[in-house]
């Protein structure tokens, strides 16, 4: 399978001198299309830093990142924003939908930014995630689980190679949390997406193809 994201020798330091903190201490990591990967670890273990670097929101102190065949490390801020928009879908803890847009309009906004008209594709996504009936509702009218489904649809809409999910189940009860994680696993396999999910909840890893534990700035694959 084709590797879509590769990270080599990633080191990230914050501050300098006495206050220097090394959040990531040398990470080598690859994801291929169609893989669903979980990263677990306690707060402060560096998993959020890992995700921001994988998503191109900040640059590592050392090491290289390649998305597809494109080296990501040396892009300018503007190019990285464009690359994020095209290649990466984000699913965040909560509130990652625009509060004043209806479900359908979340997709229209992306269309406007892309200068494309793909409402049919949006509707198809909503159908497949079983939330088509909610398309005229505002985010505040949805339950937490429904919101995360919309967020998943929104992340898939741009057809990104990679989806990064930051604690997507944090605001959900267990039943809905399991449902959302299963859905992510299904989308990864069906649509051949590389999905990386960061979570602190070990129960969520059972559907992953691989699970890593982030500990003191290093990634260890779980057996």
């Amino acid at each position: 399978m084709a590797t879509v994201l590769s990270m080599e020798g990633i080191i990230k330091r914050f501050g300098s001198g006495h206050t220097e903190v090394t959040a990531l201490k040398g990470i080598d990591f690859n994801v291929a299309a169609g893989e669903f990967i979980s990263i677990i670890g306690p707060s402060g273990s560096g998993k959020s830093t890992f995700l921001t670097i994988a998503g191109g929101l900040q640059t590592p102190t050392e090491g290289t990142i390649t998305i597809g065949t494109r080296p990501f490390t040396h892009l300018t801020g503007k190019e990285r924003a464009k690359a994020r928009f095209d290649e990466i879908g984000f699913i965040l803890q909560s509130a990652n939908l625009v509060p004043f847009l209806t479900v359908q309009e979340q997709f229209t906004l992306v269309d406007k930014l892309n200068k494309r008209h793909e409402q049919a594709k949006a509707e198809e996504l909503l159908q497949s995630l079983d939330i088509f009936d909610l398309k005229d509702k505002f985010p505040k009218e949805l339950s937490g689980g429904e919101r995360q489904r919309v967020a998943i649809a929104r992340a898939l809409f741009n057809d990104p190679a990679i989806i990064l999910a930051d604690e997507p189940t944090a605001s959900l009860d267990s039943d809905h949390a399991f449902e959302v994680v299963q859905l992510l696993a299904k989308e990864a396999h069906d649509k051949q997406k590389a999905i990386i999910m960061v979570t602190h909840d070990p129960r969520m890893t059972q559907w992953s193809d691989r699970t890593y534990r982030m500990k003191d700035g290093l990634l260890q694959e779980e057996a």
Binding site: A81, G89, F90, L92, P99
Partner: protein, 364 residues
């Protein structure tokens, strides 16, 4: 613009509030400018409608018409394109035999001179006991054909003509013959000839710089003022305009501050959303355009409503309130208000550009 519109539609109350404030401020701006124009018209309209380019007064008058005394003979000391001798005095009109008086400005001039306005009813005066009055005097129960007296003078005049409504010194206007003016202001006197008869000023159609005066060997020195200069020196005129216009200019600053602060607070509330949108790769320039777009929409809607409201208000204002609608000036002020509120929106841009998309991730 998509985001800008959708947010306004979603947060109707919030945006109605800013549009409401914008509307009120723009309304005050338009009303103040209407009042400023109305008041300045009240002071000067009869004179500015003469179509004269320059005014000649006695130098001692210090540019104030009511302090200037000339004689008809002074006309010969002036070389200019068209000259008109004008007498001017403040007086009060009353129906003959009654005591109820109304203030007005009395102009004396030859009936055929260019300063006398066209009559819209009746005819011009032909004798010294005939006068024409401006239409706004008719509101005080005067009519064509009425017998009237002026001030303390015993002469009974007849209103033989009516001109369009106009004012000078914020009161209606009456025109009469120069001889009648001399008698009204200075009483019955014996003049050796016409050139001795008193007048107040001379209006010409030549530019002030093109007027040449003969000031040698004369007891009364003459001075030439441009029409603008003359109007600026009308008592109270400049001070009133300056005050009202200063209020209007101050309101421009108020608009920038109000719209700026409103949008800034709303932007602060949305920083986490901006973080998320940026993380998803939405360009900062799109978010900035969206904020500028919102201030544009808010100000255009507010100004347009105020424009309409001010115009409707002007239709129902009492006649006693001097108010002149100048749509071109209102449009200019409207454009300034829109530009100024966009400047207010610029305050928020720094906040948007400063939002770091990293804040979107790992908020546990």
């Amino acid at each position: 613009m998509y985001l800008a519109w959708k947010e306004i539609r979603y947060a109707k109350l919030r945006y109605s509030l800013i549009i409401g404030i914008m509307l009120l401020v723009a309304y005050v701006v338009f009303m103040l400018s209407g009042l400023a124009n109305g008041l300045s018209d009240g002071h000067k309209k009869a004179v500015s409608d003469w179509g004269a380019s320059s005014i000649i007064l006695s130098e001692d008058s210090n540019k104030v018409a009511s302090a200037s005394i000339l004689t008809q003979g002074d006309l010969d000391r002036i070389s200019a394109k068209e000259k008109a001798a004008v007498g001017l005095t403040a007086s009060a009109i009353a129906h003959a035999g009654t005591d109820e008086k109304t203030n007005l400005s009395v102009f004396g001039a030859e009936a055929d001179s260019f300063v006398v306005p066209k009559v819209i009813g009746g005819r011009l005066y032909q004798a010294t006991n005939e006068v024409i009055v401006s239409e706004n005097l008719l509101d005080d129960d005067y009519q064509l054909g009425d017998q009237i007296t002026l001030g303390s003078d015993d002469t009974t005049f007849t209103i033989v003509g009516v001109t369009k409504a106009t004012t000078y010194s914020v009161v209606p206007v009456l025109y009469l013959d120069l001889d009648a003016y001399a008698q009204l202001k200075y009483g019955q006197q014996a003049y050796t000839d016409d050139s001795q008869k008193p007048i107040t000023l001379i209006a010409t159609k030549s530019a002030a710089s093109a007027v040449s005066l003969d000031n040698k060997d004369e007891t009364t020195k003459l001075t030439t003022l441009s029409m603008d200069d003359f109007i600026q020196n009308l008592p109270g005129y400049a001070a009133e305009r300056l005050t009202l216009n200063a209020m209007v200019y101050f309101l421009f600053i108020v608009v920038a501050a109000v719209v700026g602060i409103f949008l800034y607070v709303m932007t602060l509330q949305k920083t986490s959303l901006f973080g998320i949108l940026k993380a998803q790769g939405v360009a900062t320039s799109y978010l900035v355009r969206s904020i500028i777009g919102q201030s544009l929409i808010v100000s255009i809607v507010g100004v347009a409503l105020a424009y309409l409201l001010s115009f409707l208000t002007s239709l129902v204002l009492p006649a006693a309130m001097p108010f002149t609608v100048d749509l071109i000036q209102w449009s200019l002020y409207g454009v300034i208000l829109i530009v100024v509120s966009m400047v207010g929106g610029l305050f928020s841009i720094r906040t948007v550009t400063k939002v770091d998309p990293i804040t979107a991730i790992g908020g546990e």
